[in-house]
């Protein structure tokens, strides 16, 4: 993978100027490359990883992982039905998986009620959905490679040879 992408994936705030310095390239060259990645869709979005446990507001949310068993369609396989499912705004992630189930769907809702409503009223009654198993998320320890804990302080001594 291009170093530019690697740097942005770690910290998307890194400016083109800094990336240029870090990779020994010209700023214009870096800017151009980033534009190209954005246009092609290799870079889809820039976002912050937020530890919502530390955000004090009333809009707490519930997350659930739902295993979905579906009947694949002739010629289309899982694509069409997957699209119908991942298009719901409640769905934050959707994966085709191997094993007992076909799709792993991650959904987010305001509370237990909204999540179960979604499963009962939207998901389960889709024509090709044969069955679901819902797992509510109790605690997040690590997400997208980030451990959701306060950064521990530096334990090195301030100066050494």
């Amino acid at each position: 993978m291009d170093e530019i992408l690697d740097i942005l994936e770690k910290d998307c705030r890194t400016s083109a100027e800094d990336i240029a310095k870090m990779t020994n390239r010209k700023v214009d060259e870096v800017k151009k490359a980033i534009k190209k990645y954005e246009k092609e869709g290799a870079i889809l979005k820039y976002k912050a990883v937020i530890n919502k446990d530390l955000v004090r507001d009333n809009e707490s949310e519930v997350r659930a992982l739902i295993e979905v068993n579906i009947v694949p369609q002739k010629d289309l396989g899982f694509e069409k039905i997957a699209e119908r499912i991942y298009s719901f705004p409640e769905v934050t992630s959707c994966y085709l998986i191997s094993g007992t189930y076909d799709l792993l769907v991650v959904i987010e809702g305001k509370n237990l009620h909204t999540v179960s409503n979604f499963v009962a009223e939207k998901l389960s009654c889709l024509e090709n959905v044969r069955g679901t198993a819902t797992h509510f998320l109790l605690k997040k320890y690590k997400e997208d490679g980030v451990i959701l804990k306060h950064k521990s302080e530096n334990k090195r001594i301030a100066i050494s040879y």
Binding site: E3, D18, T23, I159, Y161
Partner: protein
């Protein structure tokens, strides 16, 4: 007088005072640290914890766990095509520091000379003196901080027993290409000068492949090779390294080692074994990160007007501060007092390094940036005062 003459006359007080100043100060951004800012990769820490759970709390053989020596043998074979016998030619030591002490004590007869290219890591000279030897410092500051065959020949005489070579070099980050090493090797072999090669930063070489000194033609029988886990696997606190060399030297070193250290703590040895098995990816990741910071620092320092060459390895930059008109020590002290940024004055690493400072980029990019902002302010203030 209770203290021996050798110890009493040993080494500087000035630097110590500066170090104490840094350690006593709060909220300092420190670029003065000689160790990685990463924590030991988890799988290595986990191996240490697991070994404790399993009850591995005993001594090991003096030379170190066989499986670790075997791991080292394989590692060197794969990486450099070097073949050391795990039974007779490899010794596990408490960091490279212990290994260096052992080899110097093993080879030095009173009055023997040891060549030390400077600027250099701080222990080489004092440890030579403790072993009864005479350190001969070679100032490399006029040769881009590199030792050359010419410089070498100039300093070799009948009493010269060995040379401590360290590359990539702490504090300059300088390293050598194969051709340069071959030339050095020829001089050493011709003059029967033992090469003591401290290659602890080997895995952090950025612009070309690192060449292990003993892998050069005819060099193996004339070299004691040192490496460790501290820098590449971020394992400084585990205190573990290793020495490889001709069996009579390793046997001599092991004699001292068995009476002084006995063996390296088993937990560290177990963790180090794991590092060799699964640590490669972590090393690569850390190296990539260091490399970016290196490029960043070199560009930024030069644009601030502190002339800085591009080091090839380790995690240090070694900019010149000569155009500020300050000595290394004054620059470092003032920068600390006025802007709370800690660096190490070049003079800590030998007299030839006056006019330079060592800055470690083993620190997060955010820290490096903030430090540079402060250094910029510091420099502007001086310019304004001068103007």
């Amino acid at each position: 007088m209770r203290i021996s003459k050798v110890v009493e006359t040993m080494q500087p007080s000035g630097i110590r005072a500066f170090f104490d100043l840094v350690l006593g100060m709060k909220d300092v951004i420190s670029l003065g640290v000689g160790e990685p800012d990463f924590v030991t990769p988890w799988q290595i820490r986990e191996a240490g914890i697991y070994s404790l759970e399993q009850g591995f709390t005993s001594y090991t053989s003096n030379k170190g766990l066989y499986k670790l020596r075997l791991g080292i043998q394989r590692y060197l074979k794969n990486k450099y095509g070097l073949d050391y016998c795990p039974d007779e030619e490899i010794l596990i030591t408490v960091g490279v520091s212990e290994g260096l002490d052992l080899v110097l004590r093993s080879i030095i007869n009173p009055g023997d000379k040891i060549l030390i290219p400077q600027p250099s890591y701080v222990s080489y000279g004092p440890v030579t003196e403790l072993a009864g030897g005479v350190p001969v410092y070679i100032d490399t500051s006029k040769n881009d901080f590199k030792i050359t065959p010419k410089l070498l020949e100039k300093h070799i005489d009948k009493k010269t027993k060995g040379i401590v070579l360290n590359y990539p070099t702490n504090p300059t980050g300088v390293s050598y290409r194969k051709k340069e090493l071959e030339e050095i090797n020829k001089v050493l072999i011709k003059n029967k000068v033992l090469c003591i090669s401290d290659e602890v930063y080997a895995d952090l070489t950025y612009d070309f492949e690192h060449v292990a000194f003993p892998s050069l033609p005819k060099a193996k029988s004339n070299t004691v090779y040192f490496n460790g886990f501290s820098k590449s696997y971020a394992m400084t606190g585990w205190r573990i390294g290793f020495a490889c060399g001709p069996k009579e030297i390793i046997a001599a070193m092991n004699k001292i080692h068995q009476y002084t250290i006995m063996c390296v703590p088993i937990t560290s040895q177990m963790a180090a074994s794991e590092a060799l098995v699964s640590g490669k990816r972590s090393v690569e990741e850390m190296k990539r990160e260091y490399n970016r910071r290196r490029e960043f620092m070199v560009t930024e320092l030069n644009s601030l007007g502190l002339k800085c060459f591009r080091p090839q390895g380790a995690f240090y930059v070694f900019p010149s501060i000569k155009n500020t008109g300050l000595s290394s020590m004054d620059f470092s002290r003032k920068l600390l007092e006025e802007e709370k940024v800690a660096v190490v004055p070049g003079t800590a690493f030998g007299a030839g390094a006056e006019g330079y400072i060592r800055m470690s980029y083993a620190s997060s990019l955010d820290n490096l940036k903030e430090a540079l902002v402060r250094i910029k302010r510091f420099l502007r203030k001086r310019e304004n005062n001068a103007g």
